[in-house]
Amino acid sequence: MKLFEYEAKDIFRAFKMPTPPGGVARTPEEARTRAIEVGKPVAVKAQVLAGKRGKAGGVKFADTPEQAEKYAKEILAMRINDLPVEAVLIEEKLSIQQEIYVGITVDRNERKYIVIGSAAGGMSIEELAEESPEKIIKMHVDPDLGLQAYEAREMAIAMGFRGKQISQLGSFFLTLWNIVNAYDVELTEINPLILTTDGRFLAADARLNIDDNSLYRHQDFIQKIKREPVEQNDRERMATENDMAYVELDGNIACICNGAGLTMATLDAVSLYGGKASTFLDLGGGADAKRVEKGIEIAMMYPKVKAILVNIMGGITRCDEVAKGILSSRIDGDITVPLVIRMVGTNEEEGQEILREAGIPFLKTMEEAASKVVELVKEVA
């Protein structure tokens, strides 16, 4: 779950991390009020769960409350990365001495949290890593001990800071770590963390992603921020509610499979035979008839779909249940496009028998099925 900048900063402030004075606004008028409260030139920043906001024109600097109102109006009307701007954050415009990068994420190779810092912030860590890897300081966090204050200071020292700034900057790492720990954060970044010309460190930006698998532990927080974990369309929401992985793509063939790897491989096969997938739909493990029916229902709701490919490799999932699900979708008239079925594995014979009795054809290999569905789509077109 990605948090908006202003939501992340609310958490930062609750953990006593210094952030620029300011507040969120949902209307141009509110933006004006916030700017008056700040009483200095402000930044007007689009609140949107997408990167490269600055390049898209989503950040503007206003010298007066009137200007802030005007920019807020413009930005609130924007879409960035195809997402609407829900709000703007009005914050004091800082006088910058240095832009710093700090962040914590999960290192999947070491299976540990990793703390990352660079005195050369302001750009994405990927670009930084490519251009100046020596400027990136990394430290793994001991899973038993957590990040210690002395380690946070060692980060600041390694980043080149001296004197009082060692502890000042170190405290940002410690606070970030406490937040990571409290909120099951899988990625957090402050970029830039600004050292102002008058010597203050302030978290000027904030990125904070909570591990989706941990959300059950953070229901109080999710209710408090009064929004859904993710912006979703109806189909995506239905899939989430049914615990299915669902991604919409640009093609026209819906691939309904069990298992993420198999679903991806099915998309690849469709592509290999000249087709293009509209839908990645992973039913997950052990889908029963109802679940299969629900998966087909969701897939059919997406207007781009011109054919469905069901590719099941039965493991926990039983082919007889899959067949029953398909059958009741047919009976209900859900499926209004060509359907190709490939189904092997657990209870394969029972499943195939059900389809055979209902007069529904099926195939034995995924290559046959992929090539067949591509063929059918071409006929339809």
């Binding site: 993420a260 592509s271 594995g345």
Partner: protein, 289 residues
């Protein structure tokens, strides 16, 4: 010998009275696995398919000789179950559960590592050694024929797909291993390759990868330098658009690493033949062996 699981493995099923635990205990028993005990707090004294149920692993160990564990506990409690298994020195510990919070995974993997215990998963179909007729997992046993090719994968059903293709082509498997689909898993790809390298019964490897992370790239480098027997690869997600989350967390493309192209290139650089379709794996294996 194969790896991880053999005739001496004696398994306890954590969460044996749940739907999945019950179903797969039967399947494992049927396949030949020595499932000797199960846990379900509060249900000590019950039986599942004749397997005695205990309130805790500690209690089970007092009554039964158990060496390994398979965990069918819901995600919020899976970490605790794994720590219980670690505290009781079970090895390997196979965590079937998906959606385990990464913080819990990190903790469990670290504790296991400190004791030298192998964690397989989470979010794995488990491990199977056809020759010994032993599986600790949820894979359909009949798909895996006895043989001398080691198979490892981060994906469940895709593994069955490829194993089925191999079986159809008359190629058998020493041990097949689901490494788990989460970003953080216990046994890593490179560690699995090392295990297979030490196994006399494994004469070739199939490495099934998917987009996200750089486990395959790392394994490829290791293979290039250390592994002399034939290796065939497959990577799922060639056509996945960047930045889209495809099913499990393992399949996120982040930055310039982790793309299918990068993985395939790394494998090719290591002399690993990479199949375009799952069914090509068997053919490439035959060519290589």
């Amino acid at each position: 010998m194969a790896i991880l699981v053999d005739k001496d493995t004696r398994v306890i099923v954590q969460g044996i009275t749940g739907g999945q635990g019950t179903f797969h205990s039967a399947a494992m028993l049927k396949y030949g696995t020595k499932v000797v005990a199960g846990t379900s707090p509060g249900k000590s004294g019950e039986e599942v398919h004749g397997i005695p149920v205990y309130d805790s692993i500690r209690e089970a160990k007092e009554a039964q000789d158990v060496t390994a564990s398979i965990i069918f506990i819901p995600a919020p409690y899976a970490g605790d179950a794994a720590l219980e298994a670690i505290a009781n020195d079970l090895d390997p510990i196979v965590i079937i559960t998906e959606h385990v919070p990464v913080k819990d995974e990190i903790r469990v993997i670290h504790e296991a590592k400190m004791k030298g215990i192998t964690i397989i998963g989470p979010n794995t179909p488990g491990v199977i050694t056809p020759r010994a007729k032993q599986k600790i997992g949820i894979m359909p046993g009949h798909v895996f024929a006895e043989g001398d090719v080691g198979l490892m994968s981060r994906s469940g059903t895709l593994t069955y797909e490829i194993a089925a293709g191999m079986t159809n082509a008359g190629i058998g498997i020493s041990t097949a291993l689901g490494l788990g689909g989460d970003p953080c898993v216990g046994l890593t790809t490179i560690e699995a390759v090392k295990m297979f390298k030490e196994d006399e019964d494994t004469k070739a490897l199939v490495l099934v990868g998917e987009i996200g992370g750089d486990a395959e790239e790392r394994a490829a480098v290791y293979i290039k330098e250390n592994y002399d027997l034939p290796v065939v690869g497959f990577i799922a997600g060639r056509t996945a658009p960047p930045g889209k989350r495809m099913g499990h967390a393992g399949a996120i493309i982040s930055g310039s690493t982790g793309t299918a192209a990068a993985k395939i290139k790394a494998m090719n650089d290591a002399g690993i033949a990479v199949a375009e379709k799952p069914s090509d794996v068997a053919r490439l294996l035959k060519e290589a062996m």
